[in-house]
């Protein structure tokens, strides 16, 4: 059992981070904390990709006489794209939170939902 954990510890770490992030996104009430959870969640996937491309004793994948064993560059390049996506998502989310704060004077989800529910009852009746 211990061997199973130690031999593939990089994947276990990324799973752990993934669960922490997912928990933060679902369970936290504060909108910014949700975004922090989202970032942890995405970073865990990046780590998963990066460790997947690593080869033991591998060098950087460059044209070099001593680069007999080299890492797989594709996952690393893919994750550059995914990092850009993640940053844009965070930027959009933070911009949204600023507008939410201006409109509701709060970034606690339960308070905002209470205000919204009250509004909906008013329009219905």
């Amino acid at each position: 059992m211990l061997d199973l954990i130690l031999s593939k510890y990089n994947y276990w770490i990324s799973i752990l981070l993934m669960m922490i992030g997912l928990y933060g996104m679902i369970a936290k009430n504060n909108l910014i904390k949700k975004i922090i959870g989202m970032n942890i969640f995405q970073v865990s996937v990046f780590l998963f990709y990066i460790s997947m491309g690593k080869v033991r004793d591998g060098t950087a994948p460059i044209h070099w006489d001593r680069a007999l064993i080299y890492d797989n560059p594709i996952p690393h390049v893919l994750i550059l794209t995914a990092i850009v996506v993640s940053i844009s998502t965070t930027a959009v989310a933070l911009a949204l939170i600023i507008r939410i704060y201006k409109n509701f004077q709060s970034i606690e989800e339960d308070q905002i939902l209470k205000v919204l529910a009250r509004e909906e009852n008013k329009t219905d009746s």
Binding site: F48, S88, T89, L96, I97, I112, E119
Partner: protein
């Protein structure tokens, strides 16, 4: 040739804020021009694919599996046609509607995002590279979060935020799944992955990849238990955005799901290696019933249409899950038909809001006297949603029923009938209030402006046209199924 389908909306989206600085009207005209050119390119591609069977573009001239490939075959051809057509209509419609709902200074940015959204979904449809698919999913999602947040009410902000959280979870799940596929095969090209996966179907890695990708796409697709983000996002977004999300957003995710299930994995994996399809049939049936029941309870017209969308998505996934030729054809047909119907219905809901400023069904008493053409189109599109013969809705439901019979899933038949009845009830509720209840004030007719009613008229007429002259959709979908099932 195919490259331009994606490149033109992208460039237009970059140009609109630039020209919008000088005059806001330029933003609209450039977008319109971009949409027309994109549509023409799709028509050219259609002619080429019909004669040659397949069109592809290799990035940098690198042969796939090494380079990124764009490919158009029978399956994505039908989606390209419907999406580029709706792109054109939405741009035309949004001129009047967005002038009212969106602040003037944001108007050119609105067109920028609109074009960016279509870049994303056209990209999802044409790409043959699975990581490219993820990137385009994110482009489309990011622009749709912002578009929803532009809505006139402040609820739109929370709707957009919820969609952002759930959409990101979905897209990241897809990313994890792609990672597992890459670990297992070392390839990212869909056609290449398909052949490389066959010998390692019993590996746990492949199954995990499958689970993550389908779950992520189902979140994007708003399949019933994962639908929470959808109703608010559709209801509080600007009218034209609601229409384009309902008509193209979820449909493209459905297309991506079909691609993954049948073009990356094979039908053998979905049914025999893991019993995915059998479970998926039941989930779809629950989605059909739940969507229809929830739609009954809504007071807001747009929310009612949104919940009805959830039910209709159930039909699409049902066809995918039954996985025989006829049901898959019904499913692809339903993607096509539902795009048309929901586009018309959301356009009409937006038009009523534009003219009257009302959203609740109870306030629409006697509205048919004031907006006779609009409500006539609503009746036609609504009947199409119910699935009355001679409309497009009937055709796809008929194929789904035939598919269920040939698969011997007889319990599907009552569910489809009940759900059709339920959809008749909720459409009838609107028709009854609009036609048979007296209005408080008797005003003369106040139709939508021509720029808004013309797209509605075109889509509604197509709803009937393709219901009667069924050759074109049937031909296109048959070609699609031939590719999926493999001769």
């Amino acid at each position: 040739m195919i490259l331009y389908i994606v490149i033109i909306p992208l460039f237009v989206s970059l140009l609109t804020p630039l020209f919008g600085m000088f005059n806001r009207k330029y933003a609209y005209f450039i977008s319109l021009l971009g949409a027309i050119i994109t549509f023409l390119f799709v028509i050219f591609t259609y002619k080429k694919v019909v004669t040659h069977g397949k069109e592809y573009y290799w990035f940098g001239g690198f042969e796939p599996p090494f380079g990124i490939e764009y490919v158009v075959d029978g399956l994505n051809l039908i989606l390209l046609l419907i999406i580029s057509f709706i792109y054109l209509l939405v741009i035309i419609y949004s001129k009047k509607s967005s002038e009212k709902e969106i602040e003037d200074k944001r108007l050119s940015l609105f067109y920028c995002l609109l074009n960016l959204f279509f870049t994303g979904i056209l990209g999802i449809v044409v790409t043959g590279d699975i990581f490219n698919l993820y990137v385009f999913v994110e482009i489309a999602s990011l622009s749709s979060y912002t578009l929803i947040a532009l809505g006139p009410k402040r609820q739109s902000l929370m709707a957009s935020y919820n969609y952002l959280i759930l959409g990101t979870i979905g897209a990241t799940f897809v990313l994890i799944g792609i990672g597992y596929i890459f670990m297992a095969t070392g390839s990212l090209n869909m056609a290449d992955i398909k052949s490389r996966l066959v010998p390692i179907y019993h590996s746990k890695m492949v199954r995990t990849a499958f689970t993550f990708i389908t779950l992520g796409l189902c979140l994007k697709l708003a399949l019933f238990p994962l639908h929470i983000w959808l109703p608010n996002a559709y209801a509080y977004a600007p009218s034209s955005v609601g229409a384009l999300l309902a008509a193209t957003g979820t449909k493209v995710s459905a297309y991506a799901l079909i691609r993954v299930l049948y073009s990356v994995f094979t039908i053998d994996f979905d049914t025999n290696v893991i019993p995915f399809n059998k479970v998926f049939v039941f989930i779809s049936l629950i989605a059909i019933l739940a969507g229809s029941f929830l739609a009954l309870a809504q007071k807001n017209l747009k929310k009612m249409l949104a919940y009805s969308s959830i039910g209709q998505i159930g039909y699409i996934t049902l066809g995918i899950a039954m996985s025989n030729e006829i049901s898959l054809q019904g499913s692809v047909l339903h993607i096509f038909n539902h795009s048309l119907m929901k586009c018309a219905l959301f356009f009409i809901a937006g038009g009523i809001f534009y003219k009257k400023g009302i959203e609740n069904i109870n306030d629409m008493k006697g509205i048919a006297k004031e907006m006779p053409f609009t409500m006539a189109f609503f009746v036609i599109a609504g009947l199409s949603l119910v699935g009355v013969p001679l409309t497009v809705g009937f055709l796809s439901k008929w194929y789904l029923l035939l598919g269920a019979i040939s698969q011997k899933y007889f319990f599907v038949i009552p569910v489809i009938l009940i759900s059709s009845l339920l959809s008749f009830i909720y459409i009838w509720r609107v028709i009854e209030t609009a036609y048979f209840k007296d209005s408080n004030s008797t005003k003369s007719s106040s139709e939508m402006p021509l720029g808004m009613i013309a797209p509605v008229a075109v889509v509604t007429i197509l709803c009937i046209y393709f219901g009667i002259f069924t050759e074109l959709p049937l031909l296109l979908t048959k070609e699609a199924i031939r590719i999926l099932i493999g001769n």
